[in-house]
Structure formats: C-alpha cells, structure tokens
C-alpha cells in the first residue's frame, strides 16, 4: 500500500495590510518560511504548485514564481479552483509524491489584494465569477450569489440571521487569541445584525475580509520525515466534488458537493466526522460555513447555528472551528485564504497554536470551496 504523503513545512507571512508587499514577494516570503520550517533548501524542491493572482495575473503563474524565486523544479503547474485551490493543491501535491513523481512539492499562494487593488476593483474582479450572459447583467456580486444561497437555505432549514451571525462571532472569538489576525476586536451577534446590508440577508460582518498575505506548505514523500525539521503531519485522505460553476446551473440551492468531497476524504482516511478534533472550514461568508458544517455531517440540518450560539465551535466545544480566525477575521488574500486553513491545521496538529491550541488535537479536517459552493475539496490531516 502507498504510504501517505506528509506535510513537512507550513508557514504564512504577515497578513492584513502589508505595506510594500507584492504578489510575488509574498509568494517568495511564504515559500522561504515554509522551507525553513521544514528544514529544507530551495534546491530540495522538485515540484511547485501555484494558484492565481488578482494583482499580478499571469497565464503561467507557476513559471513566474519559479523564475522570481530562483528555482527550476522538475514539475510545476498552476491550479485555478477559486477558494478550493489551497486544498486542491495539497491533494494534487500528495498525489505527486505518492506516485513517486516528486519528493518535495512546494505549494504556495499569495496576493496583495488589499494594498494592490482598490476596493472597487476587487469587487469588480470578483463579480466576474458570475455567468457573463446569464448572471452578471443582473448586477450580481459574490455576496449577492451567496445571499441567494442563504435565503434558500434559511427558507428550507429554518436557519436565522442570528445563526449566521454566530459563525462570524465564533471567528472573531478565535481571532482575538491570535496575535497575527487582521481583525481581533471581539464582536457580538448584535454587532453583526447591526452592520449594514451588503446583499440581503448578508451584512458586512457576514462577509470575509480583503487582505494582503501569503501562505505555503511543503508536501513530502512519507520517508522524507527523517530529513525534515518538524514533527510531520500526514495527509490521511482527500476528496473533491464539483457540481456546477454558476449558481443558475447548480443542481440544488441547498445541497452542495461538500457532502461528497468530505465523504471521500473521510473514507480514504478511515475516519468519520465524529473523530475530528479540530476543523478549518472555508468561510467566505457566514452562510458558507453554516452550509458546510451541516452538509459535511458535523451537525444535523438546522443544528449548526444553535450549536454555534452555545459555543460548539469554540475551544472546548464539540468542534473547535477556524481556530486562526478564518477568512472573516484572520485574513483572506485570494488563494492564500484557503491555504491559511491548511497551515492552521498543521499548527494545531503539531501543538504550535499557543493560546488557541485545541488540546491533544490528533485529527484535523480542512475544507475549501470555490465559486458559489461549486468546487469542493476536503482534507483529513493527522498527527504522526
């Protein structure tokens, strides 16, 4: 049987507003930090996976990065799966090392989306997610598309604005313990409900941040553990499911591919949702996290909101979730946003999460979704 790939390095740059940052500079800094974390040299890397950039878009971002960083790996590619990209890159890196194609794959993403792009430009760039002929002419934004999901989901399962708000409050509670997080001032459900509407029922505090930042991991062959610096984390299972790209063509407005991607990842890892100690789940909006928590099976339909209000997602709760603060309070800088979740899971499993550490965390679940709950990728990571 193939031995599972391991994550030997994980790191991120400063996040939030990073003055003087560039997209490639953030990539290089995150890569250097992840290599140092692993105790590897740039020349040890024989595979590179990159994502995409809004501030320095390029047809061949992996080549651009390798040139900038000064490496010539045997394998490189760029992956575009929106918010699922971080997890998809990790899954692909594991496949490359398990197939024997590569020994150490560097997975890296970053963007200076806050300082390198005006807010109007960022909103306009993201609106391009909508179908050019059948969605964008009607004035949709990503929050509008998620607002449509939220309205349908609330109607079907009885979720309330307070339940959505509980997701944002949980992120901020965790972020308050994380000195690196972009937003650390505690908030209440009332604060979320008092923030202005972006696209009903979603309000400003239901939405993720716009940030500068970069993140990287090194995925290595199982027998490389002896050459690396830190306790390795095993990539025990991964799964994907893509059901649509545009919401207008989604098979359902309330059932999404996260259920199947997670079931695959759990199956390959030989575990169930109930075994997970800590979860880092893509939270572009409060509704994204709520839908995923219930579809993946961590909570029954209609149960995640009330459970979160009662502290289930906090340290000591049933499922500590987004312990770094997630996209709503830690940072969201493009494809690096989803990688922050992976980096945090690694830190939790190594016991490096300091004030936000989940005690004795042995199994972590990470999930990314891209588009409008369109592309899903789930990972199960384990302490070795």
């Amino acid at each position: 049987m193939t031995r599972r790939a391991i994550i030997t390095g994980a790191a991120d740059t400063a996040v939030g507003e990073v003055p003087g940052s560039t997209c490639m500079g953030l990539h290089a800094e995150a890569a250097s930090l992840a290599l140092a974390d692993a105790g590897l040299k740039p020349s040890d890397i024989d595979g590179v996976l990159c994502a995409y950039s809004f501030t320095e878009p390029h047809l061949m971002l992996a080549s651009v990065f390798c040139e900038y960083f000064g490496i010539q790996p045997a394998y490189s590619a760029a992956i575009h799966a929106g918010g699922a990209t971080g997890c998809v890159m990790a899954m692909q890196a594991a496949a490359l090392v398990e197939a024997g194609v590569c020994r150490h794959v560097l997975v890296v993403a970053g963007d200076n989306r806050l300082s390198g792009l005006s807010r109007d430009k960022a909103v306009a760039a993201l609106a391009e997610v909508g179908h050019p002929q059948f969605e964008r002419p009607f004035g949709v934004t990503i929050p509008a598309l998620y607002g449509l999901v939220a309205q349908a989901y609330m109607h079907e399962y009885g979720a309330t604005p307070e339940h959505l708000a509980a997701m944002a409050v949980n992120s901020r509670t965790h972020a308050a313990r994380n000195p690196k997080a972009q937003m650390r001032k505690p908030i209440t459900v009332a604060d979320v409900l008092a923030s202005r509407f972006i696209s009903e029922p979603l309000r400003l505090l239901d939405c993720c941040l716009i940030s500068d930042g970069g993140a990287a991991i090194v995925v290595s062959a199982a027998d490389a553990a002896r050459d690396t610096a830190k306790r390795p984390v095993a990539l025990l299972g991964a799964g994907q499911k893509n059901t649509h790209e545009h919401l207008v063509a989604a098979p359902s407005l309330t059932e999404f591919g996260c259920r199947d991607s997670a079931a695959q990842a759990f199956g390959r890892a030989g575990v169930t949702a109930a075994d997970i100690d800590v979860a880092e789940i893509y939270d572009s909006f409060t509704i994204t996290l709520l839908v995923e928590l219930e579809s993946i099976g961590f909570f029954q339909k209609g149960e995640a909101g009330p459970a979160a209000l009662a502290g289930a997602l906090d340290l000591g709760g049933r499922l500590p979730c987004n312990t770094h603060g997630g996209l709503m309070s830690y940072a969201h800088s493009g494809a690096a946003g989803g990688l922050f979740h992976v980096v945090e899971a690694v830190r939790q499993l190594r016991g490096e999460a300091e004030a936000r550490q989940v005690r004795d965390a042995e199994l972590a679940f990470v999930h990314g979704d891209g588009g409008i709950l369109s592309a899903h990728c789930s990972l199960v990571l384990g302490r070795q």
């Binding site: 002929q133 934004t141 449509l148 309205q151 349908a152 109607h155 509407f197 972006i198 207008v248 407005l253």
Partner: protein, 138 residues
Amino acid sequence: MTDKLLPIPNADTRAFWEGCAQGELRLQRCRACRNAQFPPRALCAACHAPSPVWEKASGRGRIVSHTRVHRPPSPAFKADVPYVVALVTLEEGPRIMVNLRGAAADAPRIGDAVRIGFDPPAGPDNIALPHAVAVAAP
C-alpha cells in the same frame, strides 16, 4: 456614468437573445431525452446528445430565492441600488436569474408565482434583458 455591460451573444446563446428581443422566452429541449435546459449549450447536459432544439417557454415560474443588493458590482449599477436579484424556476424545469420589477420586488417570498417580461432592447446586439413581475401585474 458607466454603462452596464450587456451580454454579447455567441453561437450557443444567439437564439435565446433573439427571442428576448421579440418578447419571447426560449429554452432548449433535447431531441433524445426531452430534457429542457438553461443556460444554452451545444449539447444536452443530461444525456450529451447533440443539438438540442429551441422552443418557446411558458414564461411562468416561481421564485426559488432572492436577494436585495445594496453594494453593487460596479458604478454602472449604483443608480439602481437597492435592487432585487432572483432565481426563478420556470414551469418547464430550468432555473433562470432575473431582476424583480414592480410589486414583485417589494417583499419577495420564495414560492411566489411570477412571469417573465423584458426590458426594452438596447445596445448593438439588441439585448432585451428578461425580468420577472408578479403574476397579477399588467
């Protein structure tokens, strides 16, 4: 003021937009499995048979979700804020996105019956965007 970007029809979508300009909502139907589909494609996404045929749709459907947009995607939509975007499932089965107009936009509810109307044709491609109004509306 910046103009809104209108759809640019292509070989897959031209018949749809020509229908809209004539006040007619059109859907594709598969000749093999009879599946009605939207958005238009060169093949049936259910059974992959080629060349689905165009037919006139009823123009009736129900709201399956809606959102009132307060933060627009671009300055071109600023004058319209707040406006309502809705997903409507047509009687034939497929779902389309439209703006709600008139009383339908006041307090939309999931399940409300609506019918599809059309904005005046505009731009070099004569694009008449579909919208939805309450069934009782004139």
